[in-house]
Subunit: 353 residues, 4 copies
């Protein structure tokens, strides 16, 4: 019953096999190898669009470097109040951008709303140099509460960003789960909706460590290789990241992995909703379930070896929790078993409030 | 005949097997897993000393973050003129340290000399705030020309560094080759000789991507985890780096790999030295050979599929090359075959100047 | 009727005379002159405490450098939501600290409250490296809405800051006005209440350009001169700042200047409060008055040549303004005339809502 | 006999008077005042060209911010080995540019030579991201040894810089002395020769603290105001810098001040050259004289109260000094008296080697 995070899991068999196979040969270093070129073509195929792809070590690096590419002195990045870049990246986005400020905007269901974004940008008129200058807009897909922006929602934000001359960045640490969950194409929830640069995550969904920064207008990626190098994120054996991505993208493997995880999340949500006194805070669009369970269930689950995080409910859910309940975050993965889900639900049920 | 760089190679079978095995399970993320703790203990055993170990993605990250830990405003890092940190890391050491200056010092055979180091430090007296302030000394082991500092040479530099209140950093991208080549213990060429922090490289010598920053006084590593996080170098699935290191360190696998590469380099050097008109610029201490060969040999080698880099000779070797010769860098690896070496030498011989 | 800002004013006659006198001679550069040493002693006398004083060009530099001295990777600075460092310094505090994050905390009357500060710090437990690490607490005296912290209020915040191992920084751009307004000694509202480092402003209150960073524990200022130099804030003719401060501090000139400005602000507040339909949002502790006036008054005042800023009322005052009114910020100075104040009030009165 | 530095001097009477006059009034802050606009027009008139002028506190700030405007990740700035930016600015150029590297190039008489510049730039081909990327070229006028580039020499460097797509920056801390010394117009030794951005110094030549960054193509200055603000170099009472510049530029006051200083330097050089055993290392183009004098003269001069710096001769002058001599730097100023010069020469003469 491991629901702590998808990054607790190992790697998919196909990804592991691809890596071992690549281990045998030799190839030019620093991404100048044929496999890397081929994977860049794979990304173009998957996204039905020209793409400049840069591999990096971590999701934090992907986000922080993507934003650094659009950095300005006194730059301001607009994001949701709970955005990963604002809460969980140890200051990397600020650091890589020479001191960018993250302007955090509240929004229900983990989503930025167009009117709120516009109002925030309006606080930085061109004449007010004391306040700094707008630099970029960043959204997370999945959001931090496991919901997903629809293509139309993204497009509405992109319109405002672009109207202000700002690029739209998407933190796609769980992009695969979002695509699988929405049932749309990767293109529809990225460049077609106005996304300029995407942090495409593989690590959480079956890779060892494989993250990519994808620019849909290669011209906007000019010089990005120097940002990556200056940050120590250019792997010498870069093709080992490529090998992971090759297997990950081939035959929609990534979407199958995500679909499995999403299915387990839905099963978990349905099961919990059926328990009186327990509930799910948001309809899960991907592989994250935020659930209200009883404290008694929490105790029983821990005893049974379940791993997951209690989550601060303040700001996230409208109604205050009753005293005997807590909010927990449950993350499923490509390897989650239905039996684990069912056992979890059963314990919740047996310990209902 | 791949002598371009050791980072063109794949991974050793044992390392690959270890990674695949680790791929199957699950464990807490961000290094809070038992395997990571166990590997930290492995490092302590290998170095016969308490050690605080931090894994990062690349050698550039290891070096730049190690130096950032000792960063100061207006800080100056003293290093050899040709140091990797000064030439090949895209400004990462400067960036991570808030604008450190690398004071480059000439030195024969790729080595800093104590008197030159002392003279350089003396250019920054405490009263001269306009010049900046000394922050650290950094040396490479192997050096950039494939030689190795003896423990006594390191100790002499450490004495000067410490006398000036500066830590001594060692860029150990090829530390294994140096240890194997010197025939000393890891301890003797690191902390016993006065090294405070070591960038311990695994990627060039049989790992996929495994680099570690090792502090021999854990107190001096305080807060380093925030440097690493801010730089996006904390892997979520950090244990996959641990898995590589576990196999790499077990049963002196790393030293066997290095010894093989070193043996191939010696074979190459001996073979080339035996060719009239060809020569080796420095006695190879590890797995790098800088050789003077004829331009005709260069043409023949390229035609036969050999891969290696021509190297600028200016500053490196005393006597100017004659017109028909060039300097090349040849790097062997854990996987280099004797037959490749012999074929290379044969072509050099058949095309002697 | 210039109430736009105190930094619209020139310099006091005594300060100007001191500067001209200093212009005649010569002295060692970069602060190594006898006058600078003497002014440092003046500060110690004024504050009844040892002090390490560093002069810089602007208030933004003073604040940003003071905080940089306590910078950490992933560092978080806690401040009021409307703090000058968070709103009006163009990212300088973030930049000088290598990407510090400003954690903004709401608080009535422009003040941080101890419980809110403690709760904010608690969001960054030592184990949660993803969130970053607390680095400093910063408050403004006068606050951004013209109120002043009492010594007891400062002490309560200092206790929480120090309890968390954090220094307390005070942005004293209008420190003179606060001291004069509170009727306490400079010591009581600074180090005796727990302030570790003070940005002491002279520019707004009668100097040309004279700002100082004062450390009450000189040990904590170690290395600060390198921060200042690296930022380009070490004046070659530093003694011209010293000359301003010498005249400013002598015979409590600075407090007389501030007392005059404060008196004018009180006169303005009393006058406005007496007009039905007009009001003052906060009891002015110094030289700033936030007033609600009718739009008709605004029109008439502009026509009469008055200069001042309309201010966004959202978040600042509890009750929404009625449609015919606006909030304005009125700042008096050492040179404000009573006749100007009276004329302003008269126009407000003549155009009451 | 104050020859330590021109920044030991006070301010010229006219500049001081202008500042006092400006102290009386009031005006909008942050450079939005009519005087500042008028001074920008003065600069355009003086340079016979459109100019975007930005005032800052110090010469270090001017240089570091000018270069930051052209900063790139992994950026490399090419400059003379002894350039002020590389030796005496405490890391500010590196810091403001996010870790720029200063590539120092040797050159006789303090000057960069075109061929050496071209060779240095060639070390950074576009494909070699490990080395970083060229960002700018910077030269000093006067140079660090008191010589001056002729317009033709500047143009030759500009051609190489522009050919590589790099802007040419001029550190004009002593620009007035250079213009007066060369007998050319300000235009001829700046934009007409290819200079893109000039740090125009006033502080050393009669101002209190007045430095300007001048862009000759205003388009290239876009966003510079955010760099300045982020660095804390936007004065609130910016018009006090403007007031200094107004008086400084009016009626060629700046050139008169410089011409006086230059004349004193020539007198000093001629006097010293006439002493057997003493000599001048470089023909002074402005107000700096590097002279070889006897140690006995040094003792006698110090006793007589002379102030000046002994200078390291290594690298600066070809022939080694004889044991009884030292190299000294002598800087004259707008206020140097002929009698001081003559007394100095007389003591040198009375203590000849």
């Amino acid at each position: 019953m491991i629901f702590a995070s998808d990054n607790w899991m190992g790697a998919s068999d196909r990804v592991a096999a691809a890596l071992v196979e690549a281990a045998g040969g030799h190839a030019p270093a620093y991404g100048n190898d044929p496999l890397t070129a081929s994977v860049e073509a794979d990304f173009a195929r998957v996204f039905e669009h020209e793409v400049a792809a840069f591999f990096v070590a971590t999701g934090t690096a992907a986000n922080a470097l993507a934003l650094a590419q659009f950095g300005k002195p006194g730059g301001v990045v607009f994001c949701h109040h709970d955005a990963h870049i604002a809460v969980d990246e140890g200051g990397a986005p600020e650091f890589f951008s020479g001191g960018a400020r993250l302007h955090r905007i509240e929004g229900a269901e983990g989503k930025l709303r167009p009117a709120d974004l516009a109002a925030a940008i309006a606080l930085y008129p061109a004449s007010a140099i004391h306040h700094g200058q707008p630099a970029a807009v960043s959204i997370s897909q999945l959001t931090e509460v496991g919901t997903a922006y629809t293509p139309a929602e993204i497009a509405a934000l992109a319109e405002i960003a672009h109207g202000a001359g700002l690029p739209l960045h998407m933190d796609g640490a769980r992009f695969g789960n979002a695509v699988a969950g929405l049932g749309v194409s990767p293109a529809e929830t990225s460049w077609r909706a106005g996304v300029d640069v995407l942090s495409f995550g593989g690590s959480k969904n079956g890779c060892f460590a494989a993250e990519a920064v994808l620019f849909f207008d290669p011209e906007k990626s000019r010089g990005f290789e120097f940002h990556r190098k200056r940050a120590g994120h250019l792997f010498s054996k870069s093709r080992f990241v490529s090998a992971q991505f090759e297997a990950y993208l081939a035959n929609d493997h990534w979407l199958e992995l995500a679909a499995h995880a999403n299915g387990m999340a839905r099963r978990l949500a349905v099961g919990i909703e059926a328990v009186s006194g327990a509930s799910v805070a948001f309809a899960p669009a991907g592989n994250e379930v935020f659930a209200v369970i009883s404290k008694a269930a929490d105790v029983a689950l821990r005893e049974a070896g379940a791993a997951y995080y209690e989550w601060p409910s303040g700001g996230l859910i409208a109604a205050p929790l009753d005293k005997g309940s807590i909010l927990v975050r449950l993350v499923t993965s490509f390897r989650t078993q239905a039996s684990d889900v069912d056992q979890f639900v059963q314990i919740v049920s047996a310990n209902r409030a």
